[in-house]
């Protein structure tokens, strides 16, 4: 799977666990070594075990999970990923903005799932800086997406001032 990070092709050093069966007693199956992205639901149940483990930890949120539920744990994460089950499922755009603007996440914010070239511009404006492209996407073509538009009307994570505020500033001078 190809990864774009900070508008460049990147090597993915994280291993993402789609599912993780936590036992009723809170026991975990054997985990692979290295840096892991685990489901947020598993993190919330057995966070102490993940913290005690060697290697860095990241989490991924489904579209239905609330960013506020992990907002107190941000210091533990090396990456936060948000899953887009389909191209047309837009919940993650709001989740991205909440993580950045309300909960102050400044680390890697990665879009995973059905991620293609034509979502990248809006995703970036909503705060995503990493994109795990779905199978078959051409990275070089995808990299052109960030130049689709030269500006936007609304305030965004990338540009907190809406266009009208910036217009006012530039004509004040």
């Amino acid at each position: 799977m190809a990864l774009i990070k900070d508008r460049k092709r990147a090597i993915d050093t994280w291993q993402l666990l789609d599912a993780l069966a936590v036992g009723e007693d809170g026991s975990l199956p054997p985990l692979p070594a290295g840096d892991l992205i685990v489901p947020a639901s598993a993190w919330m149940r057995v966070r102490a075990q993940f913290i005690a483990r060697e290697g860095r930890i990241g989490i991924w949120l489904s579209g239905a999970e609330e960013p506020r539920d992990i907002a107190g744990d941000l210091e533990h994460f090396g990456v936060i990923a948000v899953n887009f089950p389909s191209f047309t499922d837009g919940r993650g755009y709001s989740i991205g903005r909440l993580l950045r603007e309300r909960f102050g996440w400044t680390g890697e914010l990665r879009a995973i799932g059905d991620i293609q070239r034509d979502q990248l511009f809006y995703l970036a404006r909503c705060g995503f800086n990493a994109f795990a492209l779905r199978e078959g996407e051409d990275v070089d073509v995808a990299l052109t997406a960030f130049a689709d538009f030269s500006d936007g009307y609304q305030g965004s994570v990338e540009q907190p001032l809406p266009l009208f505020r910036r217009r006012e500033l530039s004509t004040h001078r």
């Binding site: 191209f87 047309t88 499922d89 837009g90 919940r91 755009y93 709001s94 989740i95 903005r97 309300r102 293609q116 034509d118 511009f121 809006y122 995703l123 404006r125 909503c126 051409d138 073509v141 689709d148 538009f149 030269s150 500006d151 936007g152 009307y153 609304q154 305030g155 965004s156 907190p160 001032l161 809406p162 266009l163 009208f164 505020r165 217009r167 006012e168």
Partner: protein, 565 residues
């Protein structure tokens, strides 16, 4: 007319380039049909029964003549010479070629037009009162606020993939002519006790499969907070609206399931974070947008033109037209003229390229080069001198655009229906025509008085049948096209949803049923001043139902002579 600045212009040109690239990748096979679909929809392109359908945005229904001429040119060059003006104040073309759409969008961009977000699960074209900016009862000019919202909604990165489509309407007058109660969000301008401008905010209204009137979630939102409040509404909807079932995905279902009070609480809580933030509107920005609207250079005229008054006395046909098709204007000596696209035999809302060019000429000569598209699918010349009305009428008549039927039964609102639309269960156009033919005696139509008749070819309700005084809905009955009739719907401040009269009927039976409804009305009204809708509200639907379906014979109403029956 709102005039783009260089950034507005650049953004729509970049949109054209983006869509050209996407279309190219689709045609080359590197972008799948599934992935191209949401992208083309957000550029107004459907794949329809015969060919693609392109829906061109006419923001809040406002058009300049140079834009209408461009639409005529596009209709002639890329289509088959006829365009359809829709109930959402847009223009639909039914025969463009997919390969040509990037070129069409490029042509539109040269006159500051586009097809952005006219379809798809995003914030759609912002609609308003057809008399916006000229209505005597206006509190604020809604056009300015529509443009403020349009810019916020255009390319909004957070809300491009909502659970379902999202429609916003703005009304600037005490009397609602923008149907704010049947939109996902309705904004109704109000003044506070201290004379400050704000909006009553309604949410969760809509037609379709689950028709419902919107709930007021805020009585008074000061204008400065318009965008942050909209953002809060949209965010709550984007995160919590249902995505598992297309038929339950509109915001109205979320509002209903949570209850309007709980929905409002969620919005208010979300809003606290954005309130007073950088997206809070400034006087300067509103003034900037207002200043980019060109305004007609009105002359100082007498409030009532004597030549106009004399002409109405001299010419009865002109007087009849003026009574139906001329609207009052806030500037003394001026009036607005509705050009009816509801001539019998012409699909409601359709105009040929030649008519578009001719209307552009009329608007240049008589209405400062501007016109409007109404949500009742007509065209409007907004700024005509009263002394020019007689000439405008004569010329409109020569163009087939002077049918004096605005507000009457033959001013039928109808979607394109099964003749074009792949969603439709049944045809709309032949039904509209059959009703128009049944009621083509104008004296009789005047006697019936004000009556809104709306036809939708399916539950998606593009013809707004729920809010027609008489509503007709196309349904599929074991593969055959049938029509369900409802009565008692209304738009405006006292909006209501129609009630179904009874079992659906065949296409041939529709005009008979409508005629029977009219017979009951004429029989039961207490005076000519009591409209059809008033009678339905007073006596309920039972007497109508009984007369249509009952074995009921020999009523006095039956003997009433219908010119064409």
């Amino acid at each position: 007319m709102y005039i783009y600045d260089h950034i507005d212009q650049k953004l729509i040109e970049e949109r054209v380039a983006q869509f050209r690239d996407q279309t190219g990748r689709f045609l080359a096979g590197t972008l799948s049909e599934d992935n191209f679909r949401p992208l083309r929809l957000q550029n107004g392109l459907y794949i329809q029964r015969h060919a693609p359908m392109l829906r061109i945005a006419i923001p809040y229904g406002m058009l300049a003549t140079y834009q209408l001429r461009k639409l005529a040119h596009i209709t002639r060059t890329y289509d088959r010479g006829t365009g359809h003006f829709s109930t959402r104040q847009n223009l639909q073309l039914n025969w463009p070629r997919l390969e040509d759409v990037p070129d069409i969008l490029a042509e539109l961009a040269t006159v500051q037009m586009h097809a952005i977000q006219t379809s798809g699960n995003c914030v759609r074209n912002i609609t308003s009162d057809h008399a916006a900016g000229i209505a005597p009862d206006e509190i604020v000019n809604p056009l300015v606020w529509c443009e403020v919202v349009r810019q916020w909604a255009s390319f909004n990165p957070e809300f491009a993939y909502l659970p379902r489509k999202f429609k916003i309407a703005v009304s600037g007058s005490a009397a609602d002519r923008a149907a704010v109660q049947v939109h996902d969000v309705g904004l109704h301008a109000v003044l506070s006790d201290r004379g400050e401008i704000g909006f009553r905010v309604l949410a969760g209204g809509g037609l379709g499969r689950t028709p419902i009137l919107g709930a007021t979630i805020r009585e008074f939102l000061p204008w400065q907070h318009l965008l942050t409040y909209l953002e809060a509404i949209l965010r709550v909807y984007n995160l919590y609206g249902r995505r598992d079932n297309k038929w339950k995905a509109r915001i109205k279902i979320l509002v209903k399931d949570l209850t309007p009070a709980a929905f409002r609480d969620a919005v208010e809580a979300e809003w606290q974070h954005a309130k007073d933030g950088p997206s809070t509107l400034t006087e300067r920005e509103v003034a900037r947008i207002a200043g980019r609207f060109t305004r007609p250079a009105y002359e100082k005229l007498e409030p009532l033109s004597s030549s106009y008054v004399l002409a109405t006395g001299r010419d009865k046909r002109f007087a009849a037209w003026a009574r139906r098709n001329v609207l009052p204007h806030k500037v003394p000596g001026y009036a607005a003229v509705t050009l009816s696209l509801k001539k019998t035999g012409v699909p409601p809302g359709d105009a040929t390229a030649d008519q578009m060019d001719a209307v552009a000429d009329l608007a240049d000569r008589f209405s400062f080069g501007e016109l409007r598209v109404t949500h009742e699918q007509n065209l409007l010349l907004p700024d005509v001198r009263q002394s020019d009305l007689h000439t405008v009428w004569q010329e409109a008549e020569a163009l087939g655009l002077a049918t004096p039927n605005i507000g009457l039964i033959t001013n039928i609102i109808a979607c394109p229906g099964g003749d074009y639309c792949s969603l439709a269960n049944a045809k709309s156009i032949p039904v509209a025509e059959a009703i128009q033919r049944r009621f083509d005696d104008l004296d009789f139509v005047y006697d019936i008085g004000e009556l809104d008749l709306n036809i939708s070819g399916c539950m998606n309700s593009c013809g707004h049948h729920h809010i027609g005084h008489i509503g007709i809905l196309g349904v599929d009955k074991q593969g055959a096209e049938f029509y369900q009739i409802s009565i008692g719907g209304a738009q405006g401040n006292d909006a209501s949803l129609g009630k179904v009269l009874g079992p659906s009927v065949s296409q041939e039976e529709v005009p008979d049923v409508i005629e029977k409804l009219i017979e009951v009305y004429l029989e039961r009204r207490d005076s000519e001043a009591e409209r059809f809708i008033d009678v339905v509200r007073r006596i309920g639907i039972e007497p109508f139902k009984e007369y249509v379906y009952g074995a009921h014979q020999g009523s006095k109403a039956r003997n009433r002579h219908l010119a064409t029956a």
